[in-house]
Amino acid sequence: MFKDLVGKRSRKVKNVVERGLVKRFAESIGDSHPIYIDEVIGKQSRYGQNIAPPTFPRTFDFGKVEGLNLPNKGLIHGEQIYHYNRPLLVGEEINCYTEVKDYYDKTGKNGLMGFLVTKRYGEDLDGNLIFTEESIVIINEAVREALKA
């Protein structure tokens, strides 16, 4: 059922790298470094601005792929892969979207498992790619059965 969705994308959604959220996010991972939080340090840095931690895109809205309805329970996060062309700057606006990259089945010791690969993109307002975030989510047999019902 997920196979049909491969190649499908969401519409772009505009997000802001919010100063308050960057601070709260950095605190929540025990990484309250001045480069994320202190405006003076940010201005003096090579980036000319505070930056966001590399896993910050977790907080963005990437839109919805039509037909992709995943339960929020029973999924296993297998892998997560980030690529950056440059760090995210606090205060900047970015356009985000998501794409279903691949889907495949594997039979392992826990039965038939589905592997769903999604890739998310963040661009500046001129369309230049800033980062990608790829996730592999593992869907077990019980969840697959429940989705069919």
Binding site: L21, D31, I35, T55, K73, I81, Y82, H83
Partner: protein
């Protein structure tokens, strides 16, 4: 602190965290927007067969990246890939490690992992830190 460019193959960066608390995971839920209750509510974790709440994999991945934060003036994390290998429970003591594998003028490649108090790897992967 050594400059990252001075690190040579086999050198490691390492931090051991305070024991994981429920409040850590409540804060991460709020900051990340991931409110899956298996990370915060015991009954919900037990319902899916877990002995108790577990940390968000992304909480551990987020933590691990801080090994590189002090070096932001020399460059940034270009690539960061993680495989989630094991679960992190309340009171676990997690150690974050990065070992330098290769270094050139343009980048340094690291093997990275987080291990628990029993030496079990809970996440592992790689970082490419670019110097540009």
């Amino acid at each position: 602190m050594k400059q990252l460019v001075e690190l040579i193959s086999g050198d490691t960066l390492e931090i051991t965290l305070e024991p994981v608390t429920r409040m850590d995971l409540i804060k991460y839920s709020g900051a990340s927007g991931d409110f899956n209750p298996i990370h915060t509510i015991d009954e919900e974790a037990e319902k899916v067969g877990l002995p108790g709440i577990i940390a968000h994999g992304m909480w551990t991945m987020g933590n691990l990246a801080k090994l590189f934060t002090p070096y932001y003036e020399q460059g940034f994390i270009q690539d960061y890939r993680i495989r989630f290998a094991g679960m992190v429970f309340i009171n676990d003591v997690i150690t974050l490690k990065a070992e330098i594998i290769e270094s050139t003028d343009e980048y340094s490649d690291f093997d990275v992992k987080a291990i628990n108090q029993d030496g079990k790897v809970v996440i592992k992967g790689a970082v490419r830190f670019v110097k540009k």
